[in-house]
């Protein structure tokens, strides 16, 4: 039995090796798609994009200075890079599309705030950009609200500071006298005491309910795609391998083999062994490339390649079964092509589950490749360890056995054998 199967497998491998273009394509297509996705995502290592905000401070007052400083502080400062410009330079940069927005703080803005009279900030956005100007608009809106509430609470103190700054003679460096600092401190303290019950965190009854970290949060974008891309390669390869049944039938060699002493089991096992061998090589090659790129520990290499090979055998069985039940070669090609796209799109190979709506991802996880991919991700990305693969192994093996038994059942009728 084994000798006959190995003899058939040897022939299968030779036939496959002659079709060098198919081998190259099976390897290159997922690698190319993976490379494109990695390039699009910047490999996950690129800095966050920042909005370039130009500020034209026509008021040049203490308060307008505060606004400019506030734009570069805190989390906003990570998103927005504010830069003071002249009107001509600001308009030229916006015209050239080299900034996201130009904020104009008009003359009298500081006085208007202190006197609670209307004043209008002007924001000119870059029409060529969509997201970054929106962020700036939102941020400026929050900032103006902040200025309003700051005035409500510390209006008197701000007036004192502004008046002091405005009254400072040219060249004087001593801004505040000790007495004034003391007066301001007391005043700030009193103001804070009036609102302390709202500000002091101890006054709040906080129930800490930290949500579980979302899957994939904080992960390298390309890393989330990596296992799915390998499954994409396995799907393409499985489809290609499964065509050998029709190729042999059309060539008459399948029928001729059935007349030889080789048993159906040997012929069948030979195809399976050769297919598994190819899928192992393909998995090993793609895994190696991915590991080198992502810097994954090589300890995970062998379990991952073996899991991928088993996954490939399942997918090969699925494709082979479709080929064997199809009435013609063209319909077989159609069946497998129709199947391969939902398997890829919803089964996590093309779009990762993390990027799919929950309900669609839930469906995709029920697909054979979706289930197998999910286990691999658990092992490789989500700290499931070898347990994730070991516990799913019986299910994967059962899938492979059932699919290949069904294929064996169909093979004799397919070959035009005993009727």
């Amino acid at each position: 039995m084994i000798h006959g199967a190995l003899h058939c497998a040897n022939k299968e491998l030779r036939v496959r090796l002659r079709d060098r273009w198919a081998l190259v394509m099976w390897f290159l297509v997922p690698l190319t798609i993976g490379g494109m996705i990695t390039a699009l995502s910047g490999g996950g290592d690129q800095p966050q994009p920042t909005a370039e905000l130009l500020v034209l401070d026509e008021d040049d007052s203490f308060l307008s200075g505060l606004v400019l400083n506030a734009l570069n502080q805190g989390e906003g400062g990570q998103l927005i890079k504010a830069k003071s410009v002249t009107r001509a330079a600001g308009e030229a940069l916006i015209e050239a599309g080299k900034a996201s927005a130009l904020l104009i703080i008009p003359v009298g803005f500081g006085d208007a705030v202190l006197n609670e009279t209307p004043s209008k900030l002007e924001l000119i956005t870059n029409p060529a950009q969509q997201i970054l100007p929106g962020i700036i608009e939102e941020f400026v809106s929050v900032l103006t609200d902040g200025v309003f509430y700051l005035h409500r609470v510390f209006g008197d103190e701000i007036k004192m500071i502004a008046a002091q700054i405005d009254s400072l003679p040219q060249g004087e460096t001593e801004l505040f006298a000790d007495a004034m600092i003391a007066e301001l401190s007391v005043s700030f303290n009193e103001a804070i005491e009036t609102i302390v019950e709202y500000l002091d965190p101890l006054a709040l009854d906080l129930a800490e309910d930290e949500p579980a970290e979302e899957e994939g949060a904080g992960l390298n974008f390309a890393m989330i795609f990596f296992p799915g891309i390998i499954y994409m390669g396995l799907l393409f390869a499985s489809q290609g391998l499964s065509d050998s049944f029709w190729k042999e039938r059309d060539a008459g060699t399948l029928r001729r083999t059935l007349v030889s002493p080789l048993t159906l089991g040997e012929i069948f096992l030979g195809k399976l062994l050769a297919g598994a061998g190819f899928l192992f090589l393909l998995s090993a090659a793609m895994t190696t490339v991915g590991f080198l790129y992502h810097g994954i520990s090589l300890v995970n290499w062998m379990p991952m390649v073996l899991w991928l090979t088993l996954s490939g055998v399942v997918l090969y069985g699925l494709m082979a079964l479709l080929q064997l039940v199809a009435p013609t070669r063209s319909s077989a090609s159609l069946f497998t092509s129709i199947l391969i796209f939902p398997l890829m799109m919803i089964g996590g190979a093309f779009f990762p589950f993390e990027a799919l709506p929950d309900w669609l991802a839930a469906i995709g996880r029920w697909f054979p490749n979706g289930y197998l991919l999910e286990q691999l991700k658990s092992f490789l990305i989500y700290d499931g360890g070898l347990t994730a693969l070991a516990s799913a192994f019986p299910y994967a093996l059962t899938m492979a056995v059932i699919l290949w038994l069904l294929c064996a059942w169909r093979l004799r009728a397919f070959a035009g054998g005993t009727q």
């Binding site: 006959g4 003899h7 022939k11 030779r14 036939v15 002659r18 079709d19 060539a251 008459g252 060699t253 029928r255 001729r256 083999t257 059935l258 007349v259 030889s260 002493p261 080789l262 048993t263 035009g416 054998g417 005993t418 009727q419």
Partner: protein, 309 residues
Amino acid sequence: MIEVSELRKQFGQLVAVEDVSFTAPGGQIFGLLGPNGAGKSTTINCIAGLLTPTSGSVSVLGHNVVSDPIAARRRLGIVPQELALYEDLSARENLKFWGGAYGLKGKELDGRVNTVLGQIGLQDRADDSPEKYSGGMKRRLNFGCGIVHQPDVLLLDEPTVGVDPQSRERLLQQVRDQVAGGTCVLYTTHYMEEAETLCDQLAIIDHGKVIAQGNMEQLRSMMGERDVLRVSGSFNEEAVRKSFSSLNEVDLLNVEADMVQLAAEQATRRLPELLNALAGAGAEIHETTLARPNLESLFLRLTGKALRE
């Protein structure tokens, strides 16, 4: 030796082969002659184990092909009607695969592959893939794959269909060489001349039934010593039959509007009498052909139609 006994094969309502029995001994070529669709390939597929007989039995060298298929197949070689080659593999690799499929290995396999490459005249192209071969070369390789393991029984299903005369002669010589080595050959064909010159024994098959069987002498004797006269022209069927009803020892084999075939002893001497009978029936004669008894005429006599129809 192949023994086929009361073989019947039915596909749904269609009876493809019915009550076919024959014995093909070793060291001889047993021909299955019949028109396309007569049941030759169905019979050969039952012997090869590709089809399970509905009833009856088939054995190869004493091994029943249904109950002991592997043992039977080990002794069988088959050259299918359609080419059955791996186009991605070279001729040598094809021969190695089929030899290995029958259990040959190592030096024995290499030796047989080289021998067969010589026999089929492909030594110089042994490492080319068949897709680069001419039709005749492919046919020869197809034949080589069937004999690489030196089978005791060789099934040849119309192996010369579509083959150029040179390759055809080479193939037929190969078949004779196999037989000289003691192989039992079952040869199906619809080429009458091929069957006459090649086969030691023949079974003529039509509509799934064997209608005549024996060696060439036995089959000729079934025709008697009657020549076959074929006349073309325009004829009134009823008038021709009426005119010939009064003639002794003349069989009207076939009467059509443009052709009449008849069998008669010493037809050469009786030619004026026969032509007069046709003229008396109002026939307009264009051409006459007189032939010695052969398989064609036997088939015509048995079925009322030409073998090539």
